[in-house]
């Protein structure tokens, strides 16, 4: 979309105005995420830049909020022995981080495995009531989380699963499955079904066909679906508010009460770490995308 040489001044003016407008929109998108990073090094307990920070005074910056992540809630933060064990077991943020990863990984395993299986079934042309079933399977993404959380709470209370890890993992696994279905069916659209028939004609069992022929080809979709499922669980807070006891608090839950009750820049330090995690996930996804484009013989873009 470069400017043609015959463009008049009006066109030139619009061309540059449009780019400036787009630049401002991108600024709107990215500024809030970037801004938390310098603010998290603030030495003062405020959410705003101090004059010392603006003049780049080294004394205005500190790592105290990062240290707070490790020490807040510890039994004895000044102890010389057993500091790490104490921090690992008692620091609130570390505990919630462990919970988040544990719940997220377990939920991802469940939703990715049964979601992939279902996506393979859904992409077969023989599948009966395909659209209706697809609509049903995607609905956890659409139904407002408050309703999902309320339902899970009421039903899981009856089964004794409220306030347990199992309950949280199951509820999060449900929320992750639509993403797995969407990404895996998208990869299966270009899948050549005759490969499956070829494998079967040469005597491969369905099991072997799936793992040796189909799985390697749809793996990029499965991995990105798994990443989506993981981030869904990792970022989810409404169900956690309803379903988790203090013991199962996750990072978003801890942040939620942090923002409501005692707002401290520790939240910004945690936010910075989370931004780093999402950058890592995004980079992984991009690598997978490029790899699969290369494998399909497209020139990487």
């Amino acid at each position: 979309m470069s400017l043609p040489i015959y463009a008049g001044w009006g066109e030139r003016l619009w061309y540059y105005t449009f780019r400036v407008i787009c630049g401002l929109i991108f600024l709107f998108l990215i500024t809030p995420i970037i801004i938390v990073i310098p603010l998290s090094f603030n030495v003062e307990p405020y959410f705003s830049f101090t004059s010392g920070m603006l003049s780049l005074d080294p004394d205005a910056f500190s790592l105290r909020w990062y240290k707070d992540i490790f020490t807040n809630g510890m039994a004895n933060p000044d102890a010389t022995t057993g500091w790490w064990a104490d921090s690992w077991n008692n620091a609130q943020w570390l505990r919630s981080m462990r919970n988040s990863f544990f719940i997220g990984i377990c939920a991802t395993i469940i939703s990715t495995s049964i979601g992939t299986l279902a996506a393979v079934g859904l992409s077969r042309s023989e599948m009966p009531y395909k659209n209706q079933i697809m609509a049903l399977l995607i609905s956890p993404m659409i139904v407002p989380l408050v309703i999902t959380a309320a339902g899970a709470f009421k039903a899981f209370s009856m089964l004794g699963l409220a306030y347990t890890y199992t309950g949280l993992i199951l509820a999060h696994a449900v929320l992750g499955t639509p993403f797995v279905i969407i990404t895996v069916t998208a990869t299966l659209v270009g899948f050549d079904q005759s490969l499956v028939r070829a494998a079967q004609s040469m005597g491969a069992t369905p099991f072997r066909t799936f793992f040796k022929v189909q799985m390697p080809l749809i793996l990029p979709g499965v991995i990105s679906g798994a990443l989506f499922a993981f981030i869904t669980s990792f970022d989810e807070v409404v169900v956690v508010i309803q379903l988790a006891a203090a013991e199962q608090r996750t990072i978003p839950r801890q942040m939620f009460s942090g923002i409501r009750e005692q707002i401290s820049p520790t939240i910004l330090a945690v936010a910075t770490i989370l931004v780093m995690i999402s950058i890592a996930l995004l980079a992984t996804l991009e690598m997978i995308r490029r790899r699969s484009e290369r494998l399909r013989g497209l020139s990487p873009s």
Binding site: M1, I35, E126, V237, V238, I267, L281
Partner: protein
Amino acid sequence: MSQTADKQPVLAADGTPLKQALDAALFRNRMRAFMLVLPLLLFLFVTFIIPIGIFLSFGIHDPVFSKFMPKTSAVLSDWDTTSEPTEDMYAALVADMVVARKDKTIGRAATRVNRELSGTRSLFTSSARKAAKLEAPFKESLVAVKKQWADPEVWKAMKVASRSWTLGYYANALDYKQVADGSFEPQPENRQIHVPLLVKTLWISLQVTLYCLILGYPIAYLMSNLPARTSNLLMILVLLPFWTSILVRTTAWIAMLQSQGVLNDLFVLFGVTDDDNRYSMIYNKLGTLIAMTHILLPFMVLPLYSVMRGIPPSYVRAAKSMGATNWTAFSRIYAPQTIPGIGAGAILVFIVAIGYYITPALVGGQDGQMISNVIAFHMKSSLNWSLAAALGGVLLVVVMTLYWIYDRVVGIDNMKLG
């Protein structure tokens, strides 16, 4: 073909008619495909659909009063709501109150009636304390304890509460009220809160959708017209917020918008406002709108971008070659082709916005609250699960209608992520 061949069915290798064998094979294939989906379907039923059904059932089923006040409920069902309450009814009420006081369930029954007629909770609890000592005739003795017991309105409220299967909560969610004879009448003007709330939720969602479209359209257009390498770099600026936690983004907006925040500091620095008159941009509706637009913008950009990428540039060039101005070429040729993307993005943003909870709860203040927040309030604070379920039912109907439209317009299998 000969006459005999028409009558004789074609046989498969094992001697069964071919049509039948083929049907059986197709059926087996269908079953095989279905078996792959079955685990997820079962999982979804057990952990998602049945739980939501259980939750929604609270909206039409509330057995609290009839469970804890069984005798009263029985006599109330025969009462015609217009005649004077009889001695039998008073006797049943006193008998129930004695038992309920002993079982410590009187509070729950009283709360139920209080929802129909406020101020009756203390009437129940205080009378129940004296109920054991009351003697016949119960009508006189109970009225002597509290003269409100002679008021037919209290009895009408109990009659409404005694129905365990009720549409009363749905009526309440739509600002109607079920009265004792079972009919519905509008709530008094000053108590009509739920319909305005729903309208406000829809209005906020609509505004967010519109802002997302206004902001999303130009950048999707720019990215789809740039070389792939540049547009992929710009895409990172869209995807990074998409992948970042909603809590992080909400926190970031608090840091940006609060009165001592980054934006207000900039305004003061540039003299837009002075230090004493900082703008309040958060903990109100404006804060909800800004933060939600930021959070939902990627949901608009991604479908728009994927549609715009597929529009051949030659159409616009052809229009221009035939003398169309830039604006005509855009509005008559390009823009109509982006309508599928606008539809997909707008419905998606609207659906997600309507059920939004976290952002309004954190930055919405008083006037930025949406229907999900009120549902959560009734579940956690007022403990009125039945009203929460009725409001949830209304919300679910709205969302499911939009979902159906989305399926019609866009098709669920066209949903793409990233």
